[in-house]
Symmetry: C2
Subunit: 337 residues, 2 copies
């Protein structure tokens, strides 16, 4: 008997659950990193929310409370950047067990505010409640010029695909944290730098400031952040825009140290699927793409192009390696793990 | 050794925790039901957030998922009404155990949207994550005319204290739900009506519409909602405004059925401390107070007056009963229960 009264969350997974929940929401505000509400003709309000649960999204064994706080704040600010919005403030909801140490909470807030202060963003409210499991819920809201909102669904055939920085570093940093014995070919400062990318990621709000200076645009800006991985970002954009893409592997910026300790296969895996780099993946007309990459400097690059069709093809520099078709990995099915 | 490294959350309680957290937030946005951000000269953005945990704030044994959803949405909309704001939208964060039924989630969203639809408020975003305990985090945002924002800290000596409806009904409804054998003097429809107040509370956004029509005001509007009880609301306003108050017990509107089944002591207890009635408690100059009560109709009333000093005194109709000084009850110390 598999009807809805006996079905459990783990039976339908996150995608199944999202479909049900979306039936309760207005159709036009679904599918991007954050919601858009047009409050005045010149400004839209952008809202995004993230919930983080101890043991699922962070853990005292691998993440200090300061880093958990920083990462949670950074992820929400990155969701705003992914929409082309500048942050106005965040609210922090906290569920806390009674026997949690007060110091842990102070350190969490310290990490949150350290990240927010870099971007002059205030904590404007929140809620604290008793809970058997430490739970953190952050809602960030920002504002954007309605003509400057970045969406996933507007990519055009012929657009160049831009990344605003290297990919794979966060995942490499996590591996070095989990397995301190690996990466023996790396210098201490090289290890530290990769670990820092994982612990203290930077939302690319600076890219939004640069885009704003580049006005006016010849077309809407398409894109999202790469928090769930570079491959995921390209796939989500192509799916929402009903287009395909060709990516050139050799053009994707990666940390210079990868060649010293990672096989080409592992390096590519981190770059495409590692996630949490919080860079922006943007689709822009060729001239705008070139201008943006010039302004952003060394680590930004054009890595490919939007094509007709629906396939996302990764081309290798070495013509002997066959082209690879990218597919979504298992990252979404959190509930049936 | 009672230093902060060994202190636990349960040792310092919610008030202690709030003090620590407030040190991380801008000083001027603390103390009301929601945060205020001035986005344009004519509009302010108002944001409020609530976290609800299974077994702490709701329970399948006393609350259906539809009612849990309705109540959560209503509480957030009431926080916006308490600030004089009209809602723009809410986000819903959900932490869910894998073995929770899909039907439960559908019914929760049904309750949330049933409440929201009454006020034309959309769900504009959210997050769903795996969690060992069902957790609901709602953030509501609204907008208000900066001159119409209701605050707790602006009560003036001589202001009349207005309640927008009866108090005690929600608590009475909860008691009838928990103990179906009580209230035997009540008709079935009288019981049903009290239970409905508990299960489906109404945020008083209609009062904000009426206040808006009454512009211009001679002074700022002071007030909050009575979600934590009528006594709590008066006490919070007096504390924030550094004033006292006299309340006349006989003027406080209560459900007409209370006299049939509750002792005067129990009735007064429900009225003052029951909570979750989601009415507004407003302090206004006498003329404005009278005009508002006339517009609101039967259940609204002037129940007292703001006085110098800091005491809140409850006067009884029967002069033989001595005046009572109100104090905050234990409602806030959730963590050390």
């Amino acid at each position: 008997m598999n009807n809805s009264s006996t079905l459990k969350i783990k039976d339908i997974g996150e995608q199944g659950l999202l479909k049900i929940i979306q039936s309760f929401c207005p159709a036009d505000i679904i599918g991007d990193d954050a919601a858009v509400l047009k409050t005045t003709p010149e400004k839209s309000l952008i809202v995004t929310t993230d919930m983080l649960v101890d043991g699922v999204h962070f853990s005292n064994t691998t993440t200090s409370p300061e880093d958990a706080g920083w990462r949670a704040a950074a992820a929400n600010l990155s969701d705003l950047a992914a929409m082309g919005a500048f942050p106005l403030g965040i609210t922090v909801g906290l569920g806390l067990p009674g026997d949690l140490s007060v110091t842990w909470v102070e350190k969490l807030y310290q990490g949150i505010t350290e990240c927010l202060q870099k971007y002059n963003v205030p904590i404007v409210g929140g809620d604290i409640v008793r809970s058997p499991i430490t739970t953190l819920s952050i809602t960030a809201f920002g504002e954007a010029n309605p003509n400057l909102i970045i969406r996933r669904s507007t990519a055009q055939v012929g657009d160049k695909i831009v990344v605003t920085g290297v990919h794979g570093a966060s995942r490499a940093g996590l591996e070095l944290l989990l397995n301190p014995q690996i990466g023996e070919n790396l210098k201490t400062e090289e290890k530290t730098a990769l670990i820092a990318v994982h612990q203290r990621p930077r939302p690319r709000l600076d890219v939004i400031s640069i885009l704003k200076q580049m006005l006016p645009y010849p077309s809407p800006i398409t894109g999202m952040d790469s928090s769930d991985g570079l491959a995921d970002a390209v796939l989500q954009i192509c799916r929402a825009s009903q287009v395909g893409a060709i990516l050139e592997q050799s053009k994707i910026p990666i940390p210079s140290t990868f060649k010293h300790w990672l096989t080409p296969e592992r390096s590519l895996n981190y770059v495409l699927y590692g996630g949490e780099d919080f860079e922006l993946v943007l689709c822009l007309p060729p001239q705008t793409a070139t201008a943006l990459v010039e302004k952003l400097g060394t680590n930004a690059a054009i890595i490919g192009e939007i094509t007709p069709g629906s396939q996302i093809i990764l081309k290798h520099e070495n013509a002997k390696i066959p082209d690879q078709v990218l597919t979504l990995n298992q990252g979404f099915q959190h509930f049936n793990q």
